[in-house]
């Protein structure tokens, strides 16, 4: 119980700390940035995968896929995975809060969502790093 008396009241906790020191503001900013990155990626992805129909029996598509399976692009895929997972799980957090879940404990919900991000990322990192190092997938 020592030190409890010195703790600032909840309402005053962030006063003077500056707007950008609050977890929720960073959550919001990263949500926007990851969202914008994903918009650009989606458009690029539609164009790239549509090369399957650019004449021939997928010759253009195969050469593009060969490029994107080089280790450096697989590593960049992992960066994309971080953006996707953060955006997805922060979105789940927002939808849960819309439904009234954890509205009194924002940080608990936020960090729980981030824990799911870390767990899912570990799976993708395992698959990708196995491929980068050994050149093989994890299932064959």
């Amino acid at each position: 119980m020592k030190g409890l008396g010195r703790r600032k009241p909840r309402e005053l906790a962030n006063v003077g700390a500056g707007l950008w020191k609050a977890t929720g503001m960073w959550a919001w900013l990263l949500f926007r940035i990851s969202g914008l990155v994903l918009v650009l990626y989606l458009i690029a992805h539609i164009i790239v995968t549509s090369t399957a129909r650019w004449g021939g029996e997928g010759e253009t598509f195969d050469s593009v896929m060969q490029l994107f399976e080089k280790p450096v692009f697989v590593f960049l895929d992992l960066v994309l995975v971080v953006a996707v997972l953060y955006h997805a799980l922060n979105g789940v957090r927002i939808m849960l809060m819309d439904c009234g879940v954890s509205t009194q404990r924002h940080k608990v919900l936020f960090w729980s969502a981030m824990a799911v991000v870390v767990i899912c990322f570990a799976i993708f990192a395992w698959v990708s790093l196995t491929y980068i190092i050994t050149g093989k997938g994890v299932t064959r």
Binding site: R53, F68, V84
Partner: protein
């Protein structure tokens, strides 16, 4: 009489700003979000986790021969385009498209872009849809 400071009359309450995107857009953003989480998990599992290093025309065509996986791709295409462009609209509404006229022009422009992407994406998937 002191004249009102320029611009002060246009400040809108925070609540009105938060809902400026519209109720239906808000609802569809959440519906598409839920669809994207489910379909993206399937897409990433089958396309990238189970087939890493194997990607190519044959490999993708093999998967698209299954109607259910083609359906997942179509849902991803439609839900992804809507969710992406509506999200982009929500960001842009905060910065430059603040007046009603600009906001409407933005919405129209994004619908044109979105429908064009949808048509192009459907064309790319057409051999497997039919």
């Amino acid at each position: 009489m002191v004249p009102a400071e320029k611009g002060t009359g246009r400040v809108k309450p925070a609540v009105a700003r938060a809902h400026r995107g519209g109720m239906w857009a808000w609802l569809f953003q959440r519906i598409t979000a839920a669809l994207l989480i489910v379909c993206l998990a399937i897409h990433l599992l089958f396309t990238h986790i189970l087939n890493i290093g194997q990607l190519g025309y044959e490999n993708v065509a093999e998967r698209l021969a299954h109607t259910s996986l083609t359906a997942v791709d179509i849902v991803l295409l439609a839900a992804g385009i809507y969710h992406a462009l509506n999200g982009l609209r929500m960001v842009l509404l905060d910065y430059w498209f603040t007046s009603r006229g600009r906001a409407r022009a933005l919405a129209v422009a994004l619908w044109v872009v979105g429908l064009a992407l949808m048509v192009y994406g459907t064309w790319a998937l057409w051999p497997w849809i039919t």
